[in-house]
């Protein structure tokens, strides 16, 4: 046995002992989604929840389980018989008469001993008055059924300073609910979208082109011929085509058909599946690789409101990306991705092609690195992730909570485009405006009048949708239904995870939920 081989076996046997530890095993099913980076972001997050209602504890349950770092329930409420009946994170009748937050924290905490939980029995109004900086010590603030004036005050406080945490405002009654995420800007590197990066078949890098041109297609061993990866076939045939067509790829339908025929003509046996694949993927030969428009428009984004931005790393990377796309070589493209899809090929030709892509991707990442602002100290792993996902980066710009309700133009267009979502949203706004502690719940007529006051004269809300929404709210104005709480608990937790991990894409607008007809929708997305 050669020395190298015995060493290989040693490496392999050492790897055996790298069996996952208990924590990795516990989180296995979620690590397959957001990986160690997402998990780390969760574990260092601090979440503040205003209230410990059934909906609030449902949201928290779905954040404690995946392992956030810390949560605080800020709630002065004393548990009532009503709370004991609909909240799974209270000890039934035993909790009645005790502080709701203090009763809920241990029952949430027992879901995961890696999470720290605190009950704070001060009222949010008092804290807003006495200690506004308190809110900024968290990474995310979530409220449920907080009265409109307080939400207004809190949202303004957090909006004034762009370094403040995002705020999720959740409102529900009976079968209806909506929620909104207030953030200035949310940048996503790992968006997990399904769009694949370009393979640059139309703009092959030198080593790929050289490899494709070096193949002796006609004299090749017949087995090898049936195993040339389609990428190589396309690069080669396109190059040959361009030589006889003034350097241009196929321009019109007839030429595209002729190109496909040229691919078929190269087949030496009818069952060469790699050539079938090349034909199916032929569109790549005439699809110009450039900077995707979604990415290009990020280069011209106006500066975010406020002077400082919490996402300076992202913007430094984005700036370097823009400079990269301005280069002539690589030719006005995004950095090459090293991920190659699977394709018909034998092992050696596939691995060879993979190596070509990987080597070139490394070279382009080095070019990108040189373009980075040298003063910005950015972790190499972050740069690598950014470059790998450059084709799918996203930037969301948000609005302050409540601005939509005061924007007549936006309302007018929402009412037409999203009638049922608008109706439910404004009905919930009306309920929230008319609900304050001790007064009796508003009637349907009062809700209707308040909706009309919010949207203002001249805007017609759809009658049936509005009657349906108002009728449901008047039926159950103070009801936090267990199933609706659980539904919102899941939905809001999903969004919180996206905000914290900066992976996947959160909503931008009001997410409206109707569990009579079982639908969700989004309205009020900033233009």
């Amino acid at each position: 046995m050669a020395p190298g081989e015995s060493q290989d076996i040693e490496v392999v046997t050492t790897a055996i002992h790298a069996q996952p530890d208990n924590k990795t095993r516990r989180y296995d099913r979620q690590l397959r989604l957001w990986a160690a980076t997402g998990q780390h972001a969760l574990e260092t997050s601090r979440i503040l929840v205003l209230s410990s209602s059934a909906t609030s504890t449902s949201i928290m349950k779905n954040l404690v389980l995946p392992g956030i770092g810390h949560f605080t329930l800020l709630d002065p409420t004393i548990t009532t018989a009503r709370d004991a009946g609909n909240n799974f994170f209270l000890a039934g009748p035993d909790s009645i008469g005790k502080h709701r937050a203090q009763e809920a924290v241990p029952l949430l905490g027992e879901l995961n001993d890696g999470v720290e939980g605190t009950a704070d029995v001060r009222s949010v109004h008092d804290v807003l008055e006495s200690d506004p900086a308190y809110f900024k010590s968290f990474s995310l603030v979530i409220s449920h059924n907080l009265d409109s004036p307080t939400v207004e005050k809190l949202s303004r406080l957090l909006w004034t300073d762009p370094l403040s945490p995002p705020l999720i405002v959740v409102r529900s009654a009976g079968f209806l609910a909506d929620f909104y995420i207030q953030f200035h800007e949310h940048d996503i590197i790992e968006s997990h979208t399904e769009t694949a990066p370009s393979l640059r078949i139309d703009k092959p890098f030198p080593s790929l082109l050289g490899h494709a041109l070096s193949l002796e297609l006609a004299n090749m061993d017949i087995t090898d011929h049936g195993h040339i990866p389609y990428v190589v076939i396309l690069v080669r045939v396109l190059e040959d085509w361009k030589r006889s067509h003034n350097g241009l790829p196929p321009q019109n339908y007839a030429e595209k058909q002729a190109f496909k025929a040229a691919l078929r003509d190269l087949k030496r046996k009818p069952d060469e599946e790699n050539f079938d694949e090349a034909e199916a993927q032929a569109y790549r030969a005439w699809t110009t690789t450039g900077v995707p428009s979604d990415v290009a428009q990020l280069f011209t984004l106006p500066a975010a409101s406020g002077n400082s931005t919490p996402n300076s790393t992202f913007h430094t990377l984005l700036h370097a990306l823009q400079k990269f796309t301005e280069l002539d070589d690589p030719p006005h493209v995004l950095p090459l991705s090293s991920t190659l899809p699977d394709m018909k090929a034998d092992t050696s030709s596939y691995v060879h092609l993979q190596t070509l892509y990987k080597t070139r991707a490394d070279e382009e990442r080095a070019i990108f690195f040189d373009l980075l602002d040298k003063n910005a100290d950015i972790d190499e792993g972050v740069v690598e992730t950014f470059v790998k996902n450059a084709h799918a980066i996203r930037v969301l710009r948000g609005r302050r909570w409540g601005e939509f309700d005061a924007d007549k133009e936006a309302i007018a267009s929402a009412v037409v485009g999203y009638p049922r979502e608008s109706a439910s949203h404004f009905a919930l706004s009306a309920l929230s405006n008319l609900t304050s502690g001790s007064t009796a719940p508003p009637t349907a007529d009062a809700l209707l009048a308040e909706v009309q006051r919010i949207v203002g004269p001249g805007i017609e809300l759809p009658e049936k949708e509005l009657t349906d929404a108002i009728g449901e709210l008047a039926r159950a104005p103070t009801s936090d239904l267990p199933n609706v709480a659980a539904f919102l608990g899941g939905l809001v937790a999903q969004e919180a995870i996206k905000i914290i991990t900066k992976q996947y894409v959160p909503i931008n607008g009001y997410c409206v939920v109707d569990l009579v007809d079982t639908w969700t929708g989004v309205v009020g997305t900033p233009a």
């Binding site: 790897a15 069996q19 099913r29 449901e472 267990p482 609706v484 894409v505 569990l515 009579v516």
Partner: protein, 433 residues
């Protein structure tokens, strides 16, 4: 095995306290604008929900834990739960009724005990075993069935069982089936009224096709780490380990596969074989998180509550949610298939070339996405074509595999297909092209 008696915690009505159902009663005391006029608001509906309605939950895992808690808080008091699994450490990131000390215990029993401890007056009767252990009489006792399973086979079984249970003379025999499923940030919930609306079998073609790697790729031209792992589990395990059964829950077995796959990957210069990927491929692990399970379970329970109380219209009949890019959902009516082998009543038309052998036909049936059958046995009304078991019958019918279908079944003739994984027979009408 624990019985319902052992776990019952007293008379249910004794545990109710004033205002216990304050939130739910706002819905039950008056109709909403979209509520059907047949809704009888008030005491009658509460009495039915809390003292008469009997509901079955299938699965006490990711969805099941959530479903049990939601039902208990909604006012269902006679809940039964079936699950054949025990608790694994990887369940703890979402199955919130379980703690580290419960690892190894039966899910159904631990879940039932926890719910009864937290929600007084609710009776949860667990059964630690398979749904197939129970007969028609057992399923007949329930008003509703909610299914939170990750197994296609078990869902097909309960779906077919509930369809077969329907007796047009007896309205009580129609048991609404509410089914939920999740994968990562995505999920779906649906309401099936057996024989009336589209059933689980009607929509089999909506399932994602499982990734299958051709054997020749695995054996000769591996390119991906997955190819090396499949080589270790499909080809090397039986070759080296002989008749020893692979247990994908045994870490020693995963270790062995990982070692063998790593060595092969090294030989072929393929990168990316890891312990976690090995486990993921051989166990076909689907990512699962608490939040998505919460959404889908809540949706299932909300439909159960609406059906049990008529307080609002129930879902007609499919709700699909995708949370990866914003919150996108789609609510639609999935159409019943006339040629559904379970609820359609019509046989499935299959056109095959005259030259096809029985073996080729079987191959086609196995590949067909809307049938999904593993080892089909074939017969006509008058003769046996091919039987997978018992061995004597398999041997006796094996020569037919090479015969042309045309020689055994006339044009327009019917073939009955059965399989051990299918709780029903499939009828094919064969025509020749």
């Amino acid at each position: 095995m624990a019985t319902a008696e052992v776990l019952t915690n007293g008379n249910s009505t004794l545990c109710d306290w004033h205002d216990r159902y304050y939130h739910v009663d706002q819905i039950l005391d008056r109709p909403g604008p979209r509520t059907d006029p047949s809704f009888m608001a008030g005491d009658g509906v509460k009495e039915f929900l809390r003292n008469q309605c009997k509901i079955l939950v299938i699965g006490a895992g990711g969805l099941g834990c959530e479903i049990l808690a939601n039902l208990a808080l909604s006012g269902f008091k006679d809940i039964h739960v079936i699950d054949m699994d025990t608790i694994d450490i990887s369940n703890l990131n979402r199955q919130f009724l379980f703690r580290p000390k419960d690892v190894g215990q039966p899910k159904a029993i631990v879940a039932a005990e926890y719910i009864m401890k937290r929600v007084p007056g609710v009776k949860v009767s667990p059964y630690y075993g398979k749904i197939q252990d129970k007969d028609d009489a057992y399923y007949m006792q329930f008003n509703l069935v909610i299914c939170g399973l990750d197994s296609v086979e078990a869902r097909r079984w309960i779906n077919a069982t509930l369809v077969n249970l329907v007796d047009p003379e007896n309205p009580e025999s129609l048991k609404p089936l509410i089914d939920g499923g999740t994968e990562g940030f995505k999920g779906q919930a649906r309401v099936i009224l057996p024989t009336v609306s589209s059933c689980y079998e009607c929509s089999l073609d909506m399932l994602n096709k499982p990734t299958a790697f051709p054997i020749c790729t695995i054996a000769n031209t591996p390119r991906l780490p997955e190819h090396c792992i499949e080589w270790a589990s499909v080809l090397e395990w039986p070759r080296v380990q002989g008749d020893k059964k692979m247990d994908t829950d045994d870490p020693e077995h995963i270790n062995w596969l990982y070692t063998v796959a790593s060595a092969r990957a090294k030989e072929f210069k393929i990168e990316g074989v890891t312990w976690s990927l090995t486990q993921g491929v051989v166990k076909n692990i689907i990512p699962a998180i608490a939040s998505t399970n919460a959404i889908i379970a809540a949706s299932c329970c909300n439909e159960a509550f609406k059906i049990a109380t008529s307080s609002a219209a129930y879902l007609n009949n499919y709700f699909m949610l995708i949370g990866t890019d914003g919150v996108y959902s789609y609510t639609f009516e999935h159409e019943k298939r006339d040629d559904c082998p379970v609820c359609g009543g019509e046989s499935l038309d299959i056109s095959v070339p005259r030259t096809w052998t029985v073996e080729r036909l079987i191959e086609m049936l196995v590949e067909k996405q809307d049938i999904q059958i593993k080892k089909p046995s074939l017969s006509t009304a008058s003769s046996q074509i091919y039987f997978q078991a018992p061995p004597q019958l398999e041997e006796a019918t094996r020569p037919n595999l090479e015969k042309q279908v045309f020689d055994l079944v006339p044009d327009g003739g019917e073939i009955t297909v059965t399989a051990s994984t299918l709780p029903f027979s499939l009828f094919l009408r064969i025509t020749y092209s």
